[in-house]
């Protein structure tokens, strides 16, 4: 009889996977842009990227999400009203969730990537330029493959926190698994059963991704000899 609630939570888990992967893709893009802006040495990109990482990392996710989603919708509706339209904006909550979380974690990724790029010996890039490689080619062939190795530990942390942050998207109207677990526990008054189930699902998801990231780490550390610990 309770199986319906478990099924609903499983469906919520699919949404969690969707939102987190979408947000991760956006965060990586924003992180790369942010990191290159910070390292560009040009005043305006540096200033913009600094404002971005300072603001976003300094404000609680919950507050940002309310501001971006509801503040944004209310603002757009006001604009439409002023323009004399009777239509109301309806932002797709899935997209809003992906964008808000991606935007927030892009700031953390910026710092992770910046640190990783700085860890690569400058001589590597200089050698590439000396061979006549352009900026893009240097990045793709020299910087990026080495950066991945340095970035992975910080990246893994960001990813795990990002997965758990998806529990906040219920605020903007998405039925993710934590909220569904809460609904089930409220209806049956059995909190532990359903929250433990949701916790187990999160653990499965994070374990699988840790395994994948460990494989990536081995792949990108092929040319490196590790000291025996």
């Amino acid at each position: 009889m309770l199986s319906g609630y478990f099924l609903a939570i499983l469906q919520g888990a699919l949404l969690t996977v969707g939102v987190s992967l979408g947000a991760l893709a956006l965060a990586i893009v924003l992180g790369l842009i942010g990191a290159s802006a910070k390292l560009s040495g040009r005043p305006i990109p540096v200033a913009l990227a600094t404002v971005y990482t300072t603001l976003v990392r300094g404000i609680p996710e919950l507050v940002l999400m309310l501001l971006v989603f509801y503040g944004g919708t209310i603002g757009l509706n006001h604009l439409l009203e002023m323009a004399g339209s009777r239509r109301t904006v309806d932002i797709n909550p899935f997209l809003a969730g992906v964008i808000t979380i991606g935007f927030i974690y892009g700031a953390y990724m910026t710092e992770t990537f910046r640190g990783a790029i700085l860890a690569i010996p400058k001589g590597q890039m200089e050698a590439a330029w000396a061979f006549g490689m352009g900026r893009t080619r240097t990045f793709l062939r020299i910087t990026a493959p080495q950066m991945v190795r340095y970035a992975l530990p910080g990246f893994t942390n960001n990813w795990l926190v990002l997965i758990k942050a998806t529990a906040l998207v219920s605020l903007i109207g998405l039925q993710e698994m934590t909220y569904l677990a809460k609904q089930a526990s409220a209806a049956t008054r059995e909190p532990f059963t359903f929250f433990l189930f949701a916790a187990a699902l999160f653990l499965v998801y994070t374990s699988v991704s840790l395994w994948a990231l460990r494989w990536l780490d081995r792949r990108f550390s092929l040319g490196v000899r590790r000291g025996h610990a």
Binding site: M1, L2, S3, G4, Y5, A8, L62, L66, F69, Y70, T73, I74, N77, T88, V89, D90, S170, L171, I172, G173, Q175, Y179, K182, Q183, A184, S185, A186, A187, R189, P191
Partner: protein, 277 residues
């Protein structure tokens, strides 16, 4: 379905346009319209926000359908104003922002009418008003609130009960601990970190007193319904300025109160009168 509505709309518009032209055509054109009973169904849907985590008022069945006292009342009201209820599930924390962002038209989710909320949203008349009570161990000696001095009482953060506890119990020397959710209060009573709670009498009966962990606990003191703390009951929240919808809903509440629908719904969930006096 959509195209059916569309064609019905086209027919209706054509009929209306026909009416304006001349008297002779209006007679022939009006005839098919009056035989189509679809006219009331063309009123727009009413988007109703609920937070289905509040059994028995709003919760979900195992197959995912919203149900409970609030939902049944919403259905009855929608039938009365001839609009179809569509439910939007929303977390409590962003209930009012969602209303202002026009994600839905009304909130029918056991929201108490309070001064603070009236500053940002509008409410219909109340549709129920259950009193709150203090719950402690049954053997606690009690004459008035002063006899609870030194006790630790848990309350739901941001609730009317918290306001009451801060305003009346804390000055009497009771220590008040706010919680994110009412079931966390029950868990902490069970684990011995709290001596009791102030909660809605219906909620605390279903969620605690009727369960094994609530054995040995009971109500003390009078029924609490001071308007200063508890407001004037639970109403339907809607955006400010939506007077027409508010008037319609108020009339609908009156109608279901008098035609017996309200009592039928009430008896389904409670063995007492939840409307209050």
């Amino acid at each position: 379905m959509k195209s059916l509505f569309l064609s019905l709309t086209v027919v209706a518009v054509a009929t209306l346009a026909g009416c304006g032209k001349s008297d002779t055509t209006s007679n022939t054109a009006a005839a098919p319209a009056s035989t189509a009973p679809a006219a009331p169904a063309q009123r727009p849907e009413l988007k109703v926000a609920i937070d289905p985590t509040y059994e028995p008022f709003t919760f979900k069945t195992p197959d995912g359908k919203p149900t409970g006292f609030d939902v049944d009342i919403a259905e009855a009201l929608c039938a009365e104003i001839q609009r179809q209820c569509v439910y939007v599930e929303q977390v409590w924390d962003s209930m009012i922002p969602g209303l202002q962002a026009k994600k839905y038209d009304v909130i029918v989710s056991s929201m108490s009418i309070t001064e603070d909320r009236l500053k940002v949203v509008d409410f219909t008349d109340k549709y129920y008003n259950t009193p709150s009570r203090i719950v402690v161990k049954s053997d606690t000696p009690f004459t008035d609130i002063a006899s609870l001095k030194g006790k630790k009482i848990g309350v739901l953060k941001g609730s009317t009960q918290e306001k009451y506890a801060m305003g009346e119990l804390r000055p009497a020397g009771v220590s008040i601990v706010p919680y994110e959710a009412q079931d966390q209060v029950y868990l902490d009573i069970k684990s011995g970190r709290l001596d009791g709670t102030v909660a809605d009498s219906v909620e605390v009966t279903g969620g605690f007193l009727s369960k094994p962990e609530g054995q040995g606990y009971g109500f003390v003191g009078p029924v609490l319904n001071d308007v200063k703390y508890y407001g004037s009951g639970v109403g339907i929240a809607l955006r400010q300025g939506e007077t027409q919808l508010k008037d319609e809903l108020n009339a609908a509440i009156k109608a279901i109160r008098s035609n017996g629908t309200y009592d039928t719904v009430s008896k389904k969930y409670f063995d007492f009168d939840v409307y209050g006096d």
